[in-house]
Amino acid sequence: MSKIIDARGLSCPQPVLMTLDAIASGTDNELQVLVDNEASRENVTRAAENKGCQVKDIQDEGADTRITILKG
């Protein structure tokens, strides 16, 4: 199962907070984080990797970006 986190329109640190909460709490092994700016993409990716997670895929979808994270 994959959990979707919609962090579009939110600025730092909210997207990172939501991602880390989901990594810490949920039972889903895969997370998909939607962001709409480069800084959030970099920050979410960096935070996930720092937590020992694997960033499986980064997909541009129009103005948004979908980051797929596998929990470590």
């Binding site: 329109g9 939110l10 600025s11 730092c12 907070l17 920050n43 960096r46 720092n50």
Partner: protein
């Protein structure tokens, strides 16, 4: 996963901090005020003076560095397809936070950038200021952990994203139309200082070029002094902090090389030794920056890449400078202003209200 943008890497943010750390003391050497090669709060306050929002005669100058920060960021955002016009994340709250961020910064006499530059120049009062900054950000982090947020922004028309850059272009045009005239307090509609920090400045072209370069680099690297401490406290992350530390180290080395280092508390340039108010002024500023999501520099860079909510925060800071000097809230080298203490207390009350009130879950 490789990060494609070098400046967002660890070495990228360190090099940007180092470049700012070298350029700021050089600007001081070329004419900017002492330990104030760059101070976002002080320079926005000077801009408020230049357009007559306050009439404190010693701090009136249209600082090209600020104009450059916004336009440099705008150029970087366009060059790398990151210009994203957006608006609507509680703009009036950001305006009010901008006002009190400025009030707190002017009680201390400097933004986080200047706090670091003051430290790097040997001004030990900066230690109290930086401890205050960290305390304010820590309070902000507590709110963030409890669900504080200002809500989502929305994509909007490019014109909205252009508003603050256009205001800055307008300011630059005014400066070119009404240049400083030696010995005159006014040139056309603009006010200039005849003495004090407002008279001390590098040449327009040098200030503008340095501002543009820093604006460009800071947009690429997301350099943020508040974020440096916030991410450390909130996530234990040291990415932005490494840029922050690089700034201090390189500014210290540059000051030593230029003979601009003087260690001590007393007699420091544009500073006072009221320790409690240095601490609490920066606590208030740090809290306001944390609640608004960026230090004053970062707000300028965000505004340059189309974030008009950050632009509203900037306007709040400029208006806040008007209040700060008209109401006697700002400190001077003699000490805190006659109503500075009251303003800090009011500022805390307002920021705590905002921290508790803005908790709607991001739906």
């Amino acid at each position: 996963m490789k990060i494609k943008n070098f400046f967002s890497s660890q070495w990228g943010i360190i090099s940007v901090g180092a470049i700012i750390g070298i350029l700021a003391p050089l600007l001081q050497k070329l004419g900017n005020p002492g330990n104030m090669g760059i101070c976002v709060a002080c320079f926005e306050r000077d801009i408020a003076g230049a357009v007559g929002l306050h009439r404190a005669g010693v701090v009136q100058y249209m600082r090209p560095e600020i104009i450059g920060f916004v336009l440099g960021s705008l150029a970087a955002a366009y060059a790398f397809k990151e210009f994203k016009p957006r608006c609507g994340s509680a703009p009036i709250v950001r305006f009010v936070l901008g006002i009190f961020a400025m009030v707190g910064a002017l009680v201390f006499l400097g933004c986080p950038w200047r706090a670091m530059l003051r430290l790097a120049g040997g001004d030990l009062n900066a230690v109290t200021g930086l401890l205050g900054l960290a305390s304010g950000i820590w309070i902000g982090v507590m709110f963030l952990k409890n669900g504080y947020n200002l809500g989502r922004s929305q994509a909007t028309h490019a014109g909205a994203g252009w508003m603050l850059p256009l205001i800055m272009l307008g300011f630059l045009a005014l400066m070119l139309i009404y240049p400083q005239v030696a010995g005159e307090e006014k040139s056309g509609v603009l006010f200039y200082s005849l003495k004090g920090p407002g008279l001390m400045h590098a040449s327009l072209i040098v200030s503008l070029v340095v501002g543009l370069a820093i604006g460009f680099l800071a947009q690429r690297s997301r350099f943020c002094t508040m974020g440096a401490l916030r991410d450390l406290i909130l996530f234990g992350q040291t990415h932005l902090l490494s840029g922050f530390l690089a700034l201090v180290v390189f500014a210290l080395a540059t000051n030593l090389a230029l003979g601009q280092f003087k260690l001590g508390f007393a007699g420091q340039p544009v500073a006072h030794t009221a320790h409690v108010w240095n601490f609490l002024g920066m606590t208030l500023a740090g809290l306001a920056f944390a609640l608004a999501g960026g230090c004053p520099g970062r707000q300028l860079f965000l505004a340059g890449e189309g974030d008009s909510d950050a632009g509203v925060f900037v306007m709040g800071m400029i208006v806040g400078a008007g209040f700060a000097h008209n109401f006697g809230l700002a400190s001077s080298p003699k000490g805190v202003g006659p109503h500075g203490i009251a303003a800090v207390i009011v500022g805390f009350a307002v920021c705590l209200f905002i921290g508790f009130a803005m908790k709607k879950t991001a739906a």
